[in-house]
């Protein structure tokens, strides 16, 4: 089996994204849905129920008081927040353990990077017309999911990949493509496709290292920009470092200035403090 075939074979065996999340998304499309109906679906998944409570009590989501039961939580939180919480909780399980060792990331760092990118995307979303905050958050959480599945392959070819990056000055992603036949962005997109996420989210994940991402559709641009800033801040940045290319001139299209970028980076530091509970879900 070729390296690429091995990778594609692995993707075929990726466990499904928790059903509960999708089921709840469908339910809350109906504005008349009750907290009780939602609770019945969520309770079905014990891990998610436990996480929902933990996440509700994170200051990031700003609930007025601590909650101790799912019913109580569902009365207090709005549907948009519930969506974010379910996606966070469902995603967390894929980032547990030493999932990105091939990228020289310690345990928990890929998840931290993902949470930071999700929060940055939500901070930046006000500049980007045509993207809702929930999609921005979800795409941010999942943009690097491919790393989890490419990690061991990167480890096998680490020396070659790093040599190409340092000696030829090419983006890490290009070296992944050269030695493994696929990039973590492509693998991530395949996984999101299997999980039946919307097409614009699959695109955003696939293109998040494309140098021209800021010229592409709004969600793609938003995720590429959020990732570039979080990588620059060194949050969950591994051996790939800052070796990625992004044509920054594209921010003008959204009326974003360099000062805006600085302000959002400054804001993220505080937001990450408020999101501490989210970092310990897996």
């Amino acid at each position: 089996m070729s390296r690429l075939e091995e990778i594609l074979n692995l993707v075929q065996h990726v466990p499904p994204f928790p059903k509960v999340a999708q089921r709840v998304m469908e339910l809350i499309e109906n504005p008349a849905v009750t907290a009780r109906q939602l609770a019945e679906v969520i309770q079905y998944d014990q891990a998610i129920t436990a996480n929902v409570l933990k996440i509700c009590n994170a200051s990031y989501f700003g609930l007025p008081r601590k909650v101790s039961s799912l019913g109580e939580a569902l009365v207090l939180i709005g549907h948009d927040t519930l969506k974010d919480i379910l996606v966070t909780s469902s995603s967390a399980r894929f980032y547990g353990g030493n999932v990105a060792a091939g990228y020289h990331l310690e345990q928990g760092e890929l998840w931290k990077h993902s949470v930071a990118t999700a929060i940055m995307a939500k901070l930046l979303v006000r500049h980007v017309k045509g993207v809702d905050a929930g999609s921005a958050f979800t795409a941010g959480l999942l943009h690097d999911i491919g790393k989890r599945f490419l990690s061991s392959f990167v480890a096998d070819d680490f020396k070659n990949i790093m040599q190409a990056v340092t000696q030829e000055n090419i983006p890490f992603e290009e070296a992944e493509k050269r030695y493994l036949g696929a990039t973590h962005a492509e693998v991530g997109a395949l996984i999101l496709k299997r999980w039946e996420f919307p097409v614009e989210m699959i695109m955003a994940v696939r293109q998040h290292h494309n140098p021209d991402a800021l010229q592409q559709d709004p969600l793609t641009a938003l995720i590429a920009l959020s990732n570039a800033l979080v990588v620059s801040m060194g949050i969950g940045t591994g051996a790939d470092g800052l070796a990625t290319r992004l044509q920054g001139g594209g921010i003008k299209r959204f009326g974003i200035t360099q000062a805006d970028l600085d302000l959002h980076m400054a804001a993220l530091v505080g937001e990450m403090d408020r999101a501490q509970e989210l970092l310990h879900l897996n």
């Binding site: 000055n169 801040m233 920054g248 980076m265 530091v269």
Partner: protein
């Protein structure tokens, strides 16, 4: 004891057994000072050049910005008995993602202001490892002044 310096954080110590360490410097700068006589070491991990961006935030987190963080680092080291003329200063970080338009040149701006401020105050940089697209981790042994730098793709070595 290992003392971790986070993003927008600063630590100073005169305990010879302490090791100050800051992880994952991308475009941020890790500034290390050490006085070989007083055996005082300090480390700052700042993220942005200029506190005029957001005065309120700079008051709450002075170590986030070069112009508020750098003076704080020196002043704190003086409190522990360090003297400017003896201090060994090292700087690492300031990387940036590849962008011809220089929109993401946070690293370069962070380094420029450091150079300006140290120049103005007649402080020399003894050692530095700046720029590129790499990710860096630096540690300082307070008792000996040894600084160990780890750079993605280049391994770990003494700076």
């Amino acid at each position: 004891m290992k003392i971790v310096v986070g993003i927008s954080d600063m630590k100073v110590s005169s305990n010879p057994d302490d090791v100050l360490i800051t992880y994952s410097l991308g475009s941020c700068i890790g500034l290390v000072v050490w006085d070989p006589v007083a055996k005082v070491g300090g480390m700052l991990h700042y993220m942005l050049p200029d506190s005029s961006l957001d005065r309120g935030r700079a008051e709450a987190r002075p170590f986030m910005f070069a112009d508020t963080g750098i003076p704080s680092l020196f002043k704190e080291a003086y409190k522990y008995g360090a003297i400017k003329s003896r201090m060994v200063v090292k700087a690492v970080g300031g990387s940036q993602v590849m962008d011809a338009a220089e929109v993401f040149n946070i690293g370069k701006r962070n380094y420029m202001i450091l150079r300006q401020m140290l120049w103005k105050n007649k402080v020399m940089i003894a050692k530095e490892d700046i720029g590129g697209t790499v990710n860096r981790t630096i540690s300082l042994q307070v008792g000996t002044g040894t600084t160990i730098l780890k750079v993605s793709g280049r391994g770990e070595f003494e700076l």
